[in-house]
Amino acid sequence: MAWISLEKAKKLEERFGYPKVSEGKGVVSVEVPKDKFIEFLTFLKEDPEYQFKMFIDLTIIDHGEKENPRFQGVVILFSPKNQERIIVKTWAENETLPTLTNLWKGAKWAEREAWDMFGIKFEGHENLVRMLLWETYPYHPLRKDFPLEGIKDTELPSLNESLRGENLEGLFNYDRMHTALPTMEDLEITQKKRMPVKTSQIVLNWGPLHPGTHGTIWFLFDLDGEYVKQCDIIIGQLHRGVEKLGENVNWQQFIPYTDRMDYIAAINENHAYVLAAEKMLGIEVPEKAKWIRTMMAELSRINSHLLWLGTYALDLGALTMFLYTFREREKIMDIIEGITGARFTINYFRIGGVFADLPYGALDAIEHLIKDLPQRINDYETLLTRNRIWLSRNKDVCIITEEDVYQYGLTGAVARGSGVPYDVRKIDKYDAYGEVEFDIPVGEKGDSYDRYLVRMEEMRQSIRIIAQCVAKLRKMSKNDPYFFQTPDEKKLKVTIDGRGMKLPAGETYASSDNPRGELGFYIYNKKDGLKAHRMRIRSGAFYNLQVFTKAIIGRPIADAITLLSTIDPVVGETDR
């Protein structure tokens, strides 16, 4: 199941002596001493037998103040040759770790995030500044001794009701004291530190509140005339500490928070999380729930791609597209609203299935929709694909190579556009994906045009999957369960509302193929618990956005819009 086998990992143990192999919940992890860390990772990356050359994620676990050493580094790698993953861990003694940026460039942002959130120094990192928070922020919020509500050290009376003045009596009012907020000076310092050496005449700021950035992203372009010489991105304006929340709410209660990460494809976010939690519990959800979930996830993918197509074309000047795609999107939203009760923050999936069966008529509406949709997609393509303006703005623009995909851990349509058929749906075969037929579209060159074509084809493939799901669901009975039934309430409690649900001790990583790349959840539990000890969210959009800083170098500034649109990040997910 897409993880290195225990025997194969044991071979590593025999070969080097120092690695300690352990098995998590459906994952295999190897612990190595800190001084052998880089050596071991280099071996894994370069050895022809293993070839773990794709970087997936890097994070830290805080084991609590009392432990010594307290912090542990966790690296997840993928081998495209063997189609398997591995977890490598090491203890961060003295709160430092050697940098991985010489092996994988994609580790740059991950290490900055680890420094920001845990205060772990990475020796040899070229510019270890904060990732999501501003430079002068004094704390490291994902440490276990940092309280969930933050440290309230700033007075901010404006949050209180002005009508009632200073009068704070009664319920549900706001405290005058607030957690720290950045001032203009703080932001200036942050900006200076991000790009310490200016190479050209002018640094152009784009964002954070520009409609073309699709959210609150702040770009810095070091410009030589029209051409970008250096680029950095300041994100974090939408950072809400979802990982911290995940460590402080119960298991089912975390699902609404995942809705609010990638709000364009909330269903897929729910999906990745419930898969991870189910893997942790070691349960198998009922057949019907699997098919419903697969169908909903693909509907959501089309929904998300339609929004992407509309705004992308809008940014490049084709206004009509936006109106056409939103017409179809409205229908999908309408179906989703009817099935789940919400249009945007859906919260339909549960650990153990879904919270309700499909309402009467749902399958008919979906069938009606997918009968119509291929024709509509053809319409969009007639407007764009061969259009000469479209071609000249997209072809050969901002090429992302196959090597970049492995170096930066790119996933989703960005990886596939560069010719890497990396698709978690095929690798992990979660839910019903093992049983449905679909193709992975891949590009040839890795330019913006390929990424466009890949997403268009993905929509068609999604329609194919949905049709198979509908046909399968039609054969089922209305009495088939849609939620996991526990064989023994005392041993294993799984409830729809999540009260009293415990997950066992251990670690796991599970991911789903989100419209924006691989969204993974790494869960680490010290002991059986109502809450996670560590909830790491591997955001596809975060890693995909990182390649922007490379692919834009040497390109004219107008290509920034094209590149950003074809990478298609959602700020809710990059910032978490």
């Binding site: 549900f172 919260n347 061969r386 579209p441 009975s477 509302d497």
Partner: protein, 230 residues
């Protein structure tokens, strides 16, 4: 493993010279010229939300459609047996326990002040039920946790107001909302035992505004599964 190559298709000379790409595009645009308007003119027109819609909460009252366990829950929590028209809430706080933002609830109950020989001696009633909906994520977990089907979600979605204070709804307002909703659309959503109806429709078919956003080409709703009936 199915891999499908997509790649650039260069423009042919004929396409380039005769501007075929533009002509084809214009054809699509012109086709839409004679189509009817599909945007809904909110707020003069509204689409009726589906039965499952997760809008503002309400607290249901006792009306003879309680679930079979209702009486035993009342007994177990030592609540004064409610008369018809009184709230179903037994102040068990399950809704709060299931909520991702528990601090938005303020639920309190009090012992009745009655003499010792009164049949209600020692029993409690729910006295305070405040919800600060500005903190609510509208996830619906509270409604799934409620053992008496008291807390429900209605189809009301406009919660805007000038002050934060007015997002806090108390038990009277919540009860009023639920009573209105149940009178209006209760039959569509709940069965005789207050559970969700098995044949809840995807959306209300009497709503004609929805046709607009479906291009005046609505799907006909039928059963999902073989043995299902309307």
């Amino acid at each position: 493993m199915g891999i499908k190559k997509v790649g650039a298709k260069p423009q042919t000379l004929v396409e380039k010279i005769f501007f075929l790409d533009f002509i084809k595009g214009l054809k699509t645009t012109i086709k839409h010229l004679w189509k009817k308007v599909i945007t809904v003119d909110f707020p003069y027109e509204v689409v009726t939300p589906p039965a499952r819609f997760r809008g503002i909460h309400g607290l249901r009252t006792v009306d003879g459609t309680e679930n079979p366990e209702f009486d035993s829950w009342v007994k177990r929590l030592k609540i004064k047996p409610p008369e018809p028209g009184e709230t179903r809430c037994i102040a068990c706080k399950f809704c709060q326990a299931a909520c991702p933002v528990p601090e938005l609830f303020d639920i309190q109950s009090e012992k009745l002040d009655v003499p010792e020989d009164h049949p209600h001696y020692g029993l409690k009633v729910m006295t305070v039920f405040n919800m600060d909906l500005s903190k609510c994520t509208f996830c619906g977990l509270c409604t799934q946790a409620c053992p008496t089907d008291c807390i429900i979600m209605t189809d009301i979605y406009d919660l805007s107001s000038y002050t934060r204070k007015s997002w806090v709804l108390d038990k009277d307002v919540l009860t009023q909302i639920a009573n209105d909703f149940v009178a209006r659309r209760g039959k569509e959503k709940f069965d005789e035992k207050s559970a969700w109806r098995e044949d809840q429709k995807l959306w209300p078919e009497y709503d004609k505004t929805r046709e607009k956003l479906w291009d005046f080409n609505m799907p006909r709703l039928g059963p999902n599964y073989q043995e299902q009936t309307a």
